[in-house]
Structure formats: C-alpha cells, structure tokens
Symmetry: C2
Subunit: 321 residues, 2 copies
C-alpha cells in the first residue's frame, strides 16, 4: 500500500510533466443526478487517460534507484499508451506486448508514442513467458498496470488535485478494474478527507470487485462482454484488494446502455469525449445507483480513448435517460 | 470600442459566473502545425460557447443602469443559448426570435435554458419589425450578437484569462463572423501584449471580413454554404470593423474539409468537441495558412455546439490531413 510520502514523491515527479486536469461541472448533469458533481477530467490527461500518471511515476522512480535500459508492459489499452509516452519522455526504450487481435488503432497509437509493439497469439503463446524473455534479454523493467505501489501513488495524484480544487466533497466515485486508480484515490482520500464516502463503479457484467468484496476474498470472474474495454480485468489485484476492502462504501454497477447514455450526454452537453470505461463512475451517479441526493460528489472521468467510428455507433445507438 | 475599464468591469461581473475555461495543449497538434499552440477552450464555457460572456455582461450592465424587465435576441445559434442562460441567471425573461427553419435541436436547447422562442417566416416577416414590437410591448432590451461595446468587453475577458495563463504568445488566431469575439480579443490583446500578431480565421466561402479589409470598407457578401454555421454573418459590424482594421495582421481562410479534419482530430486526440465554426482558428494553424513556425500561438476554440448525428456524419466524411 502506498503511503503519503509515496504520493508526495509522485506529485514532485509529475509536476510540469502530467497535466493538472480541469474539474468540470454541468448544471444539467446535476439536475439529472440530484447531486452536485465535480468531474476530474482525466480523459484530458496526456495520452488520453489517468494511466500516464502511474506509468511515469513508476518508471521515473525506478530510474532513481538504478539504470533502466528499457521497460516492458502488457496492455492493449490505455496503459500501453501511458507507458509508451512516459518512457519516451524519459528517453527509455519501451516494448508493449499486445495480443494479435488487438485493434489496429490501439497498436498504431502505441507505436505513435514511440514504443515497439510485440504481438503474441493468445491461443498458443504465454504472455508471461514472453515478458520474462524480454526482461532477461533487454534488462527491461516490467511496468505493471495496477498492482504496484508506485503505480497507485501516481494515480493518487489526481485525487490530491481534485481535493485541492474542491475540498468539501461528500463522496467520490471511481471506475474500478484492477483497482490501481481506485486504490490510489482511496489512499489519498482517506488521508485528506477521512469522512468522505468512497465508491467504485464497474459494469454489471464484469463485477469482480463487487463480488470480491461480498465474498471477502479476491473472486475471479469470467471475461464478460462489456463495451467498457478498460474494465475487463477479471479480478482485483493482490495489493489493491486489501485497500479496496478497507476503504469502499460500495461498488456501484452500471449497464452498457447507461454508460453509452452518459458518454453521449457528456459529449453533447459538456463537449468532452469520455470512453465507456471512463464514464462508469459518471453513469453510476447519473443513473442514481446510490443515494447522492443533495451531496457534493467527485467523479473521475478516467479516460477518453474511443475510436471515432465506434463513437459514431454509440451515437446511433444512443438510449434515452 | 470598449476601453480597458469596460473589460475590467466585465471581468468583475463574470467572476464566479462564467467558467474560467482551461487552456489545452497537444504535442501532436503542435507537430502538425510546426508551432506551439495554446487552445482557449471556450467550447467548455457555459452554454457551450464564448457567447455567454458577452450576453451576461451586456444584460448585467443594463440592469445596473435601469430596470430590465425582459431581453430579446435574434439568433438561431450560440448567441441564443448564451442570452437565454444569462437572462435566466439574472431572473430576467428572455425572448429569442428564430427563423421557422431553424434546427429543432437549437430551438429545444434555447427553450431548455428557459427562453421563449418566437418563430418568424424569413420570406414574409421582417425580423426587425418583430423585434421592435417585442421591445415596445414588453419593455425588452435588445441584446445584439456582436456590434456592441458591452458584448465585446464580455468576450474580451477570455483573452485576458489566456494572457494571464500564457503571457508570452507571439500570435493569436480567432474565428471571425460579425467580429464581436475578435473585436473584444483584439482590444484586450493590444492593451496587454501590443507586439502580438492578431489573426482572424473565416471560411473561404464566407470571407466577408477578409474582403472588407482588402476593400478598406465593410463589404457585404452573399450568404454562402459553409458548414461553419456560426460564421455565416455576411458583413463585419459597424463597431467591430474599425477595430479589426486597426488590429489585424491578416484573416486566414479555411475550407470545410480543413475544419472537419481539425475538429475530428481534436475529438480523437484531445477529447474535446469543437463545432466547425469553433475550429476555424485551429484549422488555420494546423493547415499552416500563415507562417507560425516555431511560434507560440493562442487559438480560440469558440464553441462546441454540434448535433451528435451531424458529428457522426463528420466522422464518416473525415478527410485525412
């Protein structure tokens, strides 16, 4: 579990490197939600998601300990781009391991940030063996997506910024997948505002964190078809789960339709692009999955990486509230 | 022409009422443009465009002089929504006069902000007669879209904010239609940073300001088919034109395709929704309509009000750079 010193060190590393993302508000969203909502717009973060904070903090911290000739990560999503950009800024070679069926747009975007992409066949190759090989051959350091104190400390810096801008929040709602974002946010929140209620938000078809909290242990779910491709991790992390268990009031579940309705609303009225995973917290508040009446609620918009043709499909399929 | 005191008074009126919009940057945009660009995101302003600043400043200033029982405006665009929201916040009844062929979405949005919408037939009715009637009957004050010192002073507050955040700009590029936004920005810019080059940007098919500057007098063009529906005014204003003539280095012309290419780029990579008119300045810099190499350039994203089905069409029609 990261401590406060880890978070303060992360803030120093990220100063002038990560964007201090704006806090957005919308009277119309508030009317629908029955609450006063403050959106931390991490979709406007560099590389389009909060992931850059953790990746940069992790890699920079490692370089402070020893020479880091290269880094490696597995991801077909926002973590890939966060690691690629962070490594480039630090002048370190990055290799990102992706499945052969990853969307071409994600592969291109990761290469666009200067990383080498190594493809593997999910059916016949072991991702872990491949990783070990790359680490051994190149002296590369693995940058895990969530289960790491330095990663969590980096993500936590967004929470510190939000609480500086809006100190008197009653609750925060944060999308949860592996739990790196939420673990970091919960750690910062409990230090800075212990009375605040902390909620996770995840798709109802990928509710591993909800189920794990109910069971009191890490439950592994089958991969389920949700449009929220950033929230498909099948189990909370070893390091993140104890933090979530100690910190969370509840995990709120949202449907694909609720995420699409929310992200198209935010696009139309708030003029920002949020990906389905990034809209899970907002959807939970907008669709009143807990009683936030009259409360001041912080919500993380965790990412904005959507292919535009996919976005056009969401617009066409848009459900009404 | 608004003076500095007008702009300072506008800042006081708008404090805590208008959003202080963020300044966005994009390494990838910079690479394409060959310049370092700072975007003043007025698409994230209340009611989705810079128009709210001028409308609120105008109405509030009028209430300081005398009782204002009602206001009236003609607009089928962002001015309508800016006036409607400003009036509502000030507890004043607003009537917006729109042509019968205005898009239903714009009519609905204006009503959504609490204004009464009065429709008129372009073919058979005189807009001016209608206005006069409403003003006479209701004691309403007309809120003009651009040709007014209080309107320009309100718009100028965005320039002051940008120059506070990024003081060392070499140039600014601002979409121009009637010239209220650009007139306000130019006034503030000449006071705060006299050496900075000031550019307008308009569609090549609606180049009334460019032509007027060349002719040395206000030229009226025929209404032309550009997708930039906010930039279809056919002539610069009486009050705005002298300011533009004194202040502008040039007016840069952009095509519809260049605006679509730019706004889809900004959506995909910067995660913000900009309407075609709002992207005219950005398109001029991105498509290198003047030599900005190595320069630090401020660009106004003036609005973000696009119907989502229309946006889906832009995505489908997206040209490459």
């Amino acid at each position: 579990m990261p401590n406060w010193e880890d978070i303060e060190a992360a803030r120093k590393r990220l100063r002038g490197v990560a964007h201090r993302t704006p806090v957005l508000t919308s009277r119309q969203f508030d009317e629908a939600a029955g609450a006063t909502v403050f959106f931390k717009a991490e979709n406007l973060q560099r590389a389009g998601a909060f992931k850059f904070r953790g990746a940069y903090n992790k890699i920079k911290a490692e370089t402070e300990r020893r020479p880091v000739p290269a880094v490696v990560a597995f991801s077909s999503g926002n973590h890939a781009q966060g690691v690629a950009l962070a490594a480039r800024l630090l002048g370190i070679r990055a290799t990102v391991v992706m499945p052969t069926d990853a969307p071409q747009a994600k592969i291109d975007a990761t290469r666009g940030y200067g990383a080498e992409v190594v493809l593997y066949d999910r059916a016949t190759q072991s991702r872990d063996d491949l990783a070990e090989e790359i680490c051994r051959e190149r002296g590369a350091v693995l940058v895990p997506p969530f289960d790491d104190d330095l990663i969590m400390a980096g993500q936590a810096t967004g929470a510190v910024e939000l609480l500086e801008d809006v100190p008197d929040l009653d609750a925060i709602v944060v999308p949860v997948s592996g739990g790196g974002l939420l673990g970091g946010w919960a750690t910062a929140a409990r230090r800075l505002r212990p009375a605040m209620a902390i909620y996770g938000a995840e798709p109802e078809t990928a509710a591993d964190t909800k189920q794990s909290l109910a069971a009191g242990r890490r439950v592994e779910v089958k991969e389920n078809p949700t449009i929220a491709d950033g929230l498909r991790v099948t189990s909370p992390g070893k390091l993140t789960f104890p933090i979530l268990r100690e910190s969370l009031r509840d995990v709120l579940l949202v449907s694909d339709d609720e995420m699409i309705e929310t992200l198209t609303f935010m696009l139309e009225r708030m003029k920002v692009l949020v990906e389905p995973s990034g809209a899970a917290g907002a959807a939970a508040v907008r669709h009143r999955k807990a009683d936030f009446s009259g409360k001041r609620v912080g919500v993380v918009l965790s990412g904005g990486n959507v292919d535009l043709p996919r976005l056009a499909e969401y617009i066409a399929a848009r459900p009404s509230l």
